[in-house]
């Protein structure tokens, strides 16, 4: 069986045009980024950057909601630009799922949460009513909740941490190979944050799911990543093994980032 890599980001760039008719100039949101995630070896790959670093745009391109201006993105050998038509899109989405930053916005505040779980089951797994309930419950149990707790609930009835867990459960239902998490814990309370972060570790270790983890928080990146890439203004300035890079950063920007981190410890 061919071992094409899970995800290949190949010299990808994204430009946005700014300005009017007479003075257009290009804003390079992502500038010639390349990295590869191997298949069969699940890892947590963190992309660290501040606002304006292009990390969210890169996430959008991996999820195939933003089209690159240059370069290619290949998932399991298929170029994302070739994915056309509803069926092909669905097959892709079954393998790559997102987690968004704001747990309270990830679900329609006027609708019950279980609706999203059931429809994901129906559409991606072809489940009927009873199967959908079972799949939803299994997914929720994996994240430390249960269908009984979530059934009939609206988003505002749960805390940010619980909502993010429901989001992860929903993403797990199609049994994806890759989860792209864009700042998944930055809006979650500190006391609930580690539950989600530990959950990502479990997904990698027990379910073999690769995770692209996008954040500006070096401490959580240090805690769970296998590899990291640090982005500044669209370019990757440093990348490699997470512990090694963060223990001894080489690039001046990486050093500046690390120096600016405020450790929650006495005498900081």
């Amino acid at each position: 069986m061919s071992t094409s890599p899970l995800l290949e980001v190949d010299h990808v760039s994204k430009d946005y045009a700014r300005g009017g008719l007479l003075s257009r100039h290009r804003l390079r949101a992502v500038d010639d980024v390349s990295f590869t995630l191997e298949a069969g070896r699940a890892e947590i790959f963190s992309i660290i950057g501040e606002s304006g670093s292009g990390k969210s745009t890169l996430a959008g391109m991996i999820l195939n909601v933003v089209t690159p201006t240059a370069g290619h993105l290949r998932f399991e050998g298929t170029d994302l630009a070739q994915i056309r038509g509803r069926d092909a899109h669905r097959r892709f989405m079954a393998r790559v799922q997102p987690i968004f930053q704001n747990p309270f916005e990830s679900f329609n505040p006027l609708k019950q949460l279980d609706h999203y779980l059931f429809i994901t089951a129906r559409r991606f797994v072809g489940a009927d009513e009873a199967q959908a309930q079972r799949l939803a419950d299994e997914a929720l149990v994996k994240v430390g909740l249960s269908l009984a707790e979530v059934r009939g609930r609206f988003p505002h009835e749960l805390s940010g941490g619980q909502l993010q867990r429901v989001a992860v459960a929903r993403a797990l239902i199609p049994s994806p190979a890759l989860i792209v998490a864009d700042e998944p814990v930055s809006m979650v309370d500190a006391s609930l944050r580690m539950a989600i972060v530990n959950l990502f570790k479990t997904l990698r270790d027990e379910l073999g799911i690769a995770i692209v983890y996008i954040t500006h928080d070096l401490a959580t990146a240090y805690y769970i990543s296998d590899r990291i890439a640090i982005m500044q203004r669209g370019r990757v300035v440093e990348s490699g093994d997470a512990r090694r890079v963060l223990a001894d950063p080489q690039h001046p920007y990486s050093r500046q980032l690390k120096g600016a981190v405020l450790q929650p410890a006495p005498g900081a």
Binding site: N108, L110, F154, H156
Partner: protein
């Protein structure tokens, strides 16, 4: 959500809703009386003409020998049905165009909005008069309703489109996409609740607009004489120079009836609108800060 309970709560707590409901209720009851009218609406010279309000002709009689009260029941019924028909038909078009345009963007948006803007700039009265001239006797109340519905959706479609555009970028829309929902499902299930308040307030606007336009056309003589309406009554009153002749009751009561409709619908729409607006719904169920 028990609809009856909600309506009852609204009635008790919201003054505008209560007054609006009462006004519209009176008008609807009045319209329903048309089914028990002793006089067929199109026959003339059934009773003594020009009789002032009294008993047995509570609202008086017209110069054409019709009882104003019973004639009005038919007129208000037809006018109401007309307004509702136009509003419903044009809402459907506005919603489809607005939601599709706002959500899809790109060339779909550009094409639909070009068509939309063309309809906005069409001057209505001349076009409608033209239709009447072309269709003559075949222009029934029903066809007029269809025509006005096809002319009255464009402005509201743009309003709906702007809401749809802002919804497109919200994170729960992306969650819906990644949950495998089709575009139609997303628009219907996720976005429609946010769009409903606009639909509601524009429905009222639309009803008032269509009824007003119908009255205007009728006064000018462009009316379906086989379907008595408020406008029709005013037309005949003008033909018989009722105001000059002192037959004030022939004009006053239709005007009063249509005013009750306008004000009642306005109050209802404003209060229901506030109730179903997502922001107030959220704060009611405790989600808003």
């Amino acid at each position: 959500m028990n609809a009856l309970k909600v309506l009852r709560d609204l009635f008790k707590t919201n003054v505008e809703f209560a007054i609006g409901a009462v006004l519209v209720g009176i008008v609807v009851v009045f319209a329903l009386l048309s089914f028990v009218s002793p006089y067929p609406p199109l026959d003339v010279y059934l009773v003594a003409p020009d009789v002032p309000p009294g008993w047995p002709h509570v609202f008086g009689t017209t110069s054409r020998g019709q009882d104003v009260f019973w004639l009005l029941t038919y007129a208000i019924r037809n006018t109401l049905l007309f307004g509702i028909a136009v509003a419903l038909m044009s809402r459907v078009v506005s919603l489809v165009v607005g939601l599709l345009s706002g959500y899809k963007g790109g060339w779909v948006d550009r094409v639909l909005m070009s068509i939309n803007d063309t309809f906005i700039v069409i001057p209505l009265l001349p076009i409608l008069v033209l239709f009447f001239f072309v269709m003559r006797d075949r222009m029934t109340s029903g066809w007029l309703a269809v025509t006005m519905a096809l002319l009255g959706w464009a402005y509201d479609a743009r309003l709906i489109r702007s809401v749809a555009m802002s919804l497109r970028h919200r994170e729960f829309t992306r969650t819906s996409v990644f949950s495998g929902m089709t575009t139609r499902e997303i628009l219907q299930r996720e976005h429609l609740p946010y769009v409903l308040p606009i639909v509601f307030s524009t429905t009222l606007n639309n009803m008032n607009w269509s009824i007003g336009l119908e009255v205007t056309l009728s006064v000018l003589g462009f009316t379906d004489i086989n379907t008595p309406s408020i406008g029709g009554m005013m037309y005949w009153a003008n033909q018989h120079t009722a105001m000059v002749a002192g037959i004030w009751w022939w004009i006053a009561f239709p005007v009063l009836a249509v005013m009750m409709v306008f004000i009642g619908l306005y109050l209802l729409a404003v209060s229901i609108n506030e109730y179903i607006d997502p922001r107030s719904r959220l704060s009611r169920i405790g989600a808003g800060a």
